[in-house]
Every structure is written in C-alpha cells, then in structure tokens.
C-alpha cells in the first residue's frame, strides 16, 4: 500500500465510474437552477423540457425525447419535472418506462412555483409540456404543448446540421 500512490487515482476512477449512476438521479430545481443549466450546457444545442406526472400530453411526448437522445446525441437534453420532490418515485418510474432513466433530470423543489416560472420565463403561465430550444448562440425559443416532430427535426438540423 505504501508503494501504491495510485490508490487515490484509482479511487477517483472508481468513484467517477460510480458517480454517473448517482448523477442520473433527479436534482433539485430551485431558484438559479435554470441559469445553472444554461451555463453548464453553454455553446451546445440544448433542449429543456418541463413536464409533470399529472400531464397526459407530457407522457405522449416522452418517446420524442428518447429518440432525440438516440439519434441526435449532439443535442443536450434536460428534463425538469414540475411535480414535488416527494413525487420522485412516480417521476422516476415514468422516466424508466420511457427509456429515459439515464437522462438528466431535475425536479421542482420550491413550493413557490410562480417564482421558479417567473425566473425561467415571465411569459410562461404554467401550461405543460413547456419546452425551450436553446441554440449554441444562446438564442431561446419557447414552445407550449407537445412538440411536433417536424418542429424538432427542423431545429435539430439547423443546430447540428444533420
């Protein structure tokens, strides 16, 4: 052991290798989270989809996101559930079921939902699903209701050129 300075490196590797599983667990979406998400995906095409377990059209839309991840890995996808942290089991059940278990997932963790929405977009009045298309140059487009496949494909094409 004494002659094994690589232990820390290895340990880090192991911990890093283990971490993604934990990172896939939903994170708490609070004030500042939207900004943090935008920042961490800066210069990459990003789609942020707000959804809820109480919104049937949101579920109908889920296969679209699954396909997006399969076919356009260059586009970053963030799913944000507007339910409550205590709904985590139902949320993860839905994500699992739609093959999105390892997608980046957040859950609203501030009961003052108006405050979260106001920070994300003053014009968003809470209808779901609500999707933001954020281009590499930071340009943001909002979309209420299920995103049509053609709308998505056009945007993806424009962003990744394929």
């Amino acid at each position: 052991m004494r002659y094994f300075p690589g232990a820390c490196v290895l340990m880090s590797l192991i911990v890093f290798a283990t971490f993604p599983i934990q990172a896939d667990e939903s994170q708490k979406f609070i004030q500042g989270s939207f900004e943090a998400i935008l920042k961490s995906h800066k210069d990459k095409p990003l789609i942020v989809n707000f959804w809820s377990v109480t919104c049937p059209p949101c579920l109908v839309e889920m296969p679209l996101w699954k396909n997006l991840r399969l076919n356009s890995p260059e586009v970053n996808l963030v799913l944000v559930s507007t339910d409550k942290p205590e709904d985590v089991d139902r949320i993860e059940h839905v994500l699992n079921r739609y093959g999105l278990a390892d997608a980046t997932s957040w859950i609203f963790a501030d009961p003052f939902k108006e405050r979260l929405r106001y920070e994300i977009d003053k014009k968003w009045r809470g209808e779901l699903p609500r999707t933001y298309f954020i281009s590499r140059n930071g340009e943001k487009k909002a979309y209420s209701g299920m995103v049509e496949e053609t709308v998505l494909q056009t945007w993806v094409k424009q962003e990744v050129g394929s």
């Binding site: 052991m1 094994f4 690589g6 232990a7 820390c8 290895l10 340990m11 880090s12 192991i14 911990v15 890093f16 971490f19 934990q22 990172a23 708490k28 609070i30 004030q31 809820s52 377990v53 109480t54 919104c55 049937p56 059209p57 949101c58 579920l59 109908v60 139902r90 839905v94 963790a109 501030d110 009961p111 003052f112 939902k113 108006e114 405050r115 929405r117 106001y118 003053k122 009045r125 809470g126 209808e127 779901l128 699903p129 609500r130 209420s144 209701g145 299920m146």
Partner: protein, 423 residues
C-alpha cells in the same frame, strides 16, 4: 491484478474512513430548504396537528345562516371545521377520512364542502389513482350537523374504476345532490380498441336520498380537456357546468351546458387556444337568481391571452364579448366570480416577481362596467387559488398562502343576502 484491485478497494475504503484523499468535488449543494422561512415551523413537523394554518387547499362554503364551513387536506386526510363567527374562530377540526388516502390536493383538485337547506353536509374530494393521471372521486356526508361523517365512498359505478378527477359538487334547493367530474373511461375504451379519442369526458351523477346512494354514472359530454377544474352552479334546480373543452382538433376553449342536456352545449368564446398540453387552469362560474351566467377563465389563444370574463345573453346561447382583466405580465391567474342580482365580483391572484398578490374588482350593472382593480392582500410565499363567498350580506374573499395559512377578507356589501353558490 486482482490484488491491485483489492488494494485499490481497500485504499478507497481507508481513504473514505480516514477522510483523506479527496475524491471528486461533492455535487450536493447545501441549500436551505425552499420552504424554510415560508411555511410556519409547526406545519413542517410530521405530526403537525390539523389546522387552518397548516391546511392545504382549504375551500370554504357559507350556508344560508352565515355559518362558515371550511374543508381541507392535510397530509393523507381530509378535515373540516366550522365557525358561526369568524372573530371567535373555528371549531376543532373534524377528520372526515377514516384511513389515510392519497388525497389530490392542488389548486385544481381540492376537497369541497356544501351544506344543504336541511343542514346535511356533503363533501367530495379526489384521490390519486394507482395508474398515472388516474384518480377516484369520493363522497362523504354528515346528517347530524357535522358531528360525524360517513365513510367516504368512491362515486364510480364501474366494476374496475378507470379514473375520475376534477369533481364539482352542488345541491339544489329541493335537496338533489349533483356530482360532476372528468372521466377517462371513454378514452380508455377507445385506446383498447385502437381508436382515437380527443380528450376525456364529462360525467355526472345525482342523489335524491341525501347522498345515501347515487344514480348511474352518466355521460354529459365527450372531448373535454384532461387537466382543468370544472365549475358547477345552479340555475334554480338545473345544474349548469362550465369546463375547458377540446374542440377539433386540439382547441382548448371553454364550454358550458346544463348537465345531461347535450343540445345546451355552448362555446363561451372563440379564443382558439390550440395546444397539445395541459393548461392546469379551469374556469369559475356563478349564476344569479334570474339565471344570468357569469364566467371567468384563462386562455392563451390565438384570439386573446390572459384572464377573461363574460356573461350570458338572455337566451343563454351566446355570451358577451370577453372582457380582459388582471395584469398578464404578472401571471394573473385562477380567477373566481360571484354574482348576485346586478352585482358581480371578481378576484384573482398575480405574482410580482417577489410576492403573491390578491386582486378584487366589482360591477354594479351586471358586468357591463367595472371598478378599478383593488389589491386586497399580499404574501411573500406561494398562494392558493382564491374564492369569493357571501356571508351575512358581505362578499368575502377566501385565500390561503403558505406563510399566513387560510384567511378571509370582508370586501363589499351585497344588496340582498344572497344564497351562497355551488362550489
């Protein structure tokens, strides 16, 4: 190699135990709980006692004698309390549910209470179902003036319940109880047959024996929006319901009809809100003694966006041009309306970016001209949908917020001591 791996594992364990070699930066941020400083400390405890301070989605009813009845959810139960004089406070809360139930408790889905002329008390609420987007509507009654309530019973007559949500409750002057809700049975059977079905359906039932039993579940309309509250009010003995409909192909505009009278369905306004999504934002309805229907709703349609008010013409086949109110920039939302004679009152909430605010305005000429909106309350935390009720000749607003709990505000006198409307 194996040994190296074991060493490494050991190293990890040792390092972790010793708190040595730093691993990757911890991702977990130590944030204050978002409810910290918002909800009263007492309400955050697991064993918080039922109270109007900690009540979730408290909903009021005022009977013809001016007695207040408030029903609410708290954790897995439904409670009720009553007051004959708000200054003296409320009775001890009475638990209506005998066992814990996954009560649906949000602005759009909330327990409701109504007191009949014979002093019977009726309560309805929705529980979350096992499957996603499903639920069950329950009914309970007290025939001893609120001393005890019957075991809540599901209202469905299906062998295997599919889903009922967004219930509305009303009791007519002669004592018939109406319960209406949005039901998924048509949608599920269409799915089973691989057929398309737009939205879900509006169902209702009634009881002529003080809620001891209910008639067969009856469909009133096909193709409703799935996720917005319904609003029922009475035109004498006739139950009238307003809801967000789904006109072809996906236009979620509002409709109104007398329950069960298919020909009476009227589109309130051509807002043309085409959305394959959930507004989570249903209408409110009030009907005067002379049968005038007053309705408020939210839309983000092609034709208009924001909160709107309209009233029915003499034939009830058309509504006035929508009148917009509230500050759209401040998320004006979840309005309520109350009408009595020529007086019409509106309330709604807004969000300033920091605080929730409650607004009020009134019309003395049946909804033709309106007062300036008045800000009547504010809260630094999240707030519930507001309601208007008449008690002892005064219009009151009922509003609940996380910081302050439930409160009522006396706002304006009404000309006559009007009966309270349906909830």
């Amino acid at each position: 190699m194996c040994r190296t791996f074991l060493y490494a594992l050991f190293g990890v364990a040792a390092s972790l135990l010793a708190g040595g070699c730093a691993g990757p930066e911890q991702q977990v941020e130590h944030q204050h709980s978002p409810t910290e400083g918002l909800a009263p400390e007492a309400c955050l405890q697991d064993d918080a006692l039922p109270s109007l301070l900690c009540a979730e989605v408290p909903t009021p009813f005022v009977d013809s004698k001016g007695q207040w009845w408030v029903v609410w959810a708290q954790r897995d139960h439904v409670y009720m309390a009553t007051s004959s004089n708000l200054k003296e406070g409320f009775s001890s809360p009475l638990q209506i549910t005998s066992k814990p139930l996954p009560v649906d408790k949000n602005g759009e889905n909330r327990p409701k209470i109504i007191v009949a002329k014979n002093a019977d008390i009726y309560v309805s609420f929705t529980t979350k179902g096992q499957r996603k987007y499903t639920g069950a509507v329950y009914f309970s009654r007290s025939i001893d003036g609120g001393k005890s309530f019957s075991e809540p019973m599901p209202i469905t007559d299906e062998d295997a319940s599919v889903s009922q949500r967004f219930d509305s409750l009303a009791v007519t002057p002669s004592g018939r109880i109406y319960l209406a809700w949005l039901d998924k049975r048509e949608w599920f059977s269409a799915v089973r047959n691989d057929e398309p079905y737009r939205g879900i359906s509006l169902y209702y039932t009634w009881s002529d024996n003080r809620g001891e039993s209910f008639a067969v579940n009856t469909k009133s309309a096909d193709h409703t929006c799935e996720c917005c509250r319904t609003a029922m009010a009475l035109d004498g003995e006739k139950p009238v319901i307003a809801w967000r409909h789904m006109f072809e192909p996906n236009i979620r505009d509002h409709a109104i009809m007398q329950l069960g009278e298919k020909k009476s369905l009227v589109r309130i306004s051509e807002d043309r809100w085409a959305i394959d999504g959930c507004p989570h934002h249903g209408p409110a309805l009030s009907i005067t003694d002379t049968g005038d229907q007053h309705i408020v709703w939210y839309t983000d349609g092609e034709a208009r966006s924001g909160l709107f008010y309209a009233y029915s013409g003499a034939t009830k086949e058309t509504f006035t041009a929508p009148f917009g109110f509230g500050n759209i920039e401040n998320q004006a939302s979840h309005p309520d309306v109350l009408s009595t004679g020529q007086s019409v009152f509106l309330t709604w909430k807004e969000f300033t970016g920091e605080a929730s605010e409650l607004y009020f305005m009134q019309s003395a000429d049946g909804g033709q001209t309106w007062s300036t909106p008045l800000r009547i309350a504010s809260s630094n935390g999240p707030a519930d949908h507001p309601f208007l009720v008449v008690a002892n000749g005064w219009v009151h607003a009922s509003w609940s917020s996380m910081v302050e709990g439930w409160r009522s505000m006396r706002l304006a006198p009404v000309v006559e001591n009007q009966k309270a409307g349906a909830v």
